[in-house]
């Protein structure tokens, strides 16, 4: 196990969700769920983060923002899409300003469905992401490069 799995720092961005999933992501940090048990810190700074938690769907305006955040995250990193909006655009999928789930823009490693996704679900999602993080790290060790 790499140490990445022991101290995954997350960055959270609200793409264009209804806030429901956002506050649930935040709720994960608070006493009842306390993800710091797993060493998770919400850094809020892409350059420190290992896990990118996106809520909400992608539209023309935040496309660049999401890409910027993703590009500024040092490898290895994983992306967790939280909520059905991040998965597929959800209930707003047909709105004129929504272009769909996050997966269309950046590679998403874990999808957490739900509207709104519950904190336990999000924890599950992040735990799942840790495995991928570990794998990515090991691959990069083998490959000698972060891919």
């Amino acid at each position: 196990m790499s140490y990445l799995t022991k101290s995954p720092w997350i960055i959270h961005y609200d793409a264009s969700s209804c806030n429901g999933c956002d506050i649930e992501v935040l709720a994960c940090l608070t006493p009842l769920y306390d993800v710091e048990r797993f060493g998770i810190i919400n850094t809020g700074n892409p350059k420190h983060a290992d896990i990118f938690v996106v809520t909400g769907s992608v539209n023309e305006q935040n496309k660049e923002v999401i890409k910027n955040i993703y590009n500024q995250m040092p490898k290895p990193n994983v992306v967790v899409g939280v909520g059905i909006c991040a998965c597929s655009g959800g209930v707003f999928r047909e709105c004129y300003n929504v272009s769909g789930g996050v997966g269309e823009l950046i590679p998403v490693d874990v999808y957490v469905p739900g509207c709104a996704a519950r904190p336990e679900q999000i924890i599950d999602g992040i735990v799942k992401a840790l495995g991928i993080l570990d794998k990515k790290y090991k691959d990069s060790k083998k490959g000698g490069d972060f891919k």
Partner: protein, 290 residues
């Protein structure tokens, strides 16, 4: 009490510091985080979490804005270690302080060199903090000299009675400063342990991977150094009381961290200087009356 840099005892002190300070600092920080979590009604991370964090950072890709930023941070780390080494080897305390300032200037320059707005504001704030704490530390050093007649830490620590008895004001002032040095609320202006800060991560915004890891290690070294500095006020005359008081002080710092919001820089600067003047300078002047 003259101090020889190349004696056995000072050499041992230095080596012990280099080897064990990160570990001790990490555990202290881990306990700190655990207590903080408990105060917030949470379980909190494992005690070794700070060490995991650092080890993780070295597993990450190193992402920079300009390559030169790593140079400044490496210098920062090295000079924090030099500070500690000088301190634990029993060297002149003023030199220790200057080395500490130098190290911090390197950190600040590292932040400046990235040209990022957040790091820039963080650097400015860190400078303000540096300016706020510097007087107290120098006064503390002079106070210790007045009591023990030695500028060498080796001499100070062997004082026949605990300096804190006649330097209560300076000790309290140092405790006040410590909050700022440890970047704890209410003085976590330039960068903060937790994210929700107006400056994102302030000073360290543009550092990632091993660069950030180096600043974290430096932070651990500094923590141990600062606690050591507080110990000087007790010295070998009252070591157990010293350790007990330091533990209490540290708990208090954690408590204060939890019981206050972040203040603005104006207040931080003003309050530090006033505390320095009232507790530090008056204590120094009072030494003549005794």
């Amino acid at each position: 009490m003259t101090f020889e840099f190349f004696t056995n005892s000072s050499f041992i002190g230095a080596v012990l510091f280099i080897l064990f300070a990160p570990l001790i600092g990490g555990i202290v920080m881990g306990i700190d985080r655990k207590i903080t979590a408990r105060m917030q009604g949470r379980v909190g991370p494992p005690v070794l979490q700070p060490i995991y964090d650092i080890l993780k950072l070295f597993e990450k890709e190193n992402m920079v804005v300009y390559e030169s930023q790593n140079f400044w941070i490496l210098s920062y780390l090295i000079f924090i270690v030099v500070t500690g080494v000088l301190f634990f080897a029993g060297s002149d305390i003023l030199l220790v302080i200057f080395a500490l300032t130098l190290a911090h200037v390197f950190l600040i320059l590292g932040a400046y060199s990235t040209g990022s707005p957040y790091a820039h504001v963080g650097a400015e704030r860190e400078l303000i903090q540096l300016m706020a704490v510097e007087p107290m530390i120098i006064i503390a050093a002079v106070g210790l000299y007045q009591v023990t007649n030695s500028f060498d830490t080796a001499g100070i620590i062997q004082s026949t009675f605990a300096p804190v008895i006649v330097l209560p004001g300076i000790f309290l002032g140092m405790v006040y400063i410590l909050t700022m040095k440890l970047r704890k609320s209410p003085f976590d202006l330039s960068t903060s342990h937790h994210a929700h800060q107006e400056l994102v991560k302030g000073l360290t915004t543009e550092f990632s991977g091993s660069t950030l890891g180096m600043t974290e290690i430096a932070h651990l070294y500094e923590l141990v150094f600062l606690l050591g500095f507080l110990f000087l006020f007790f010295g070998t005359a009252a070591p157990l009381i010293g350790i007990a008081v330091i533990l209490i002080v540290y708990f208090l710092e954690v408590f204060v961290d939890n019981a206050t919001s972040r203040v603005k820089w104006q207040f931080a600067l003003k309050s530090c200087w006033i505390v320095t003047a009232v507790l530090g300078v008056l204590n120094l002047l009072a030494l003549y009356l005794i």
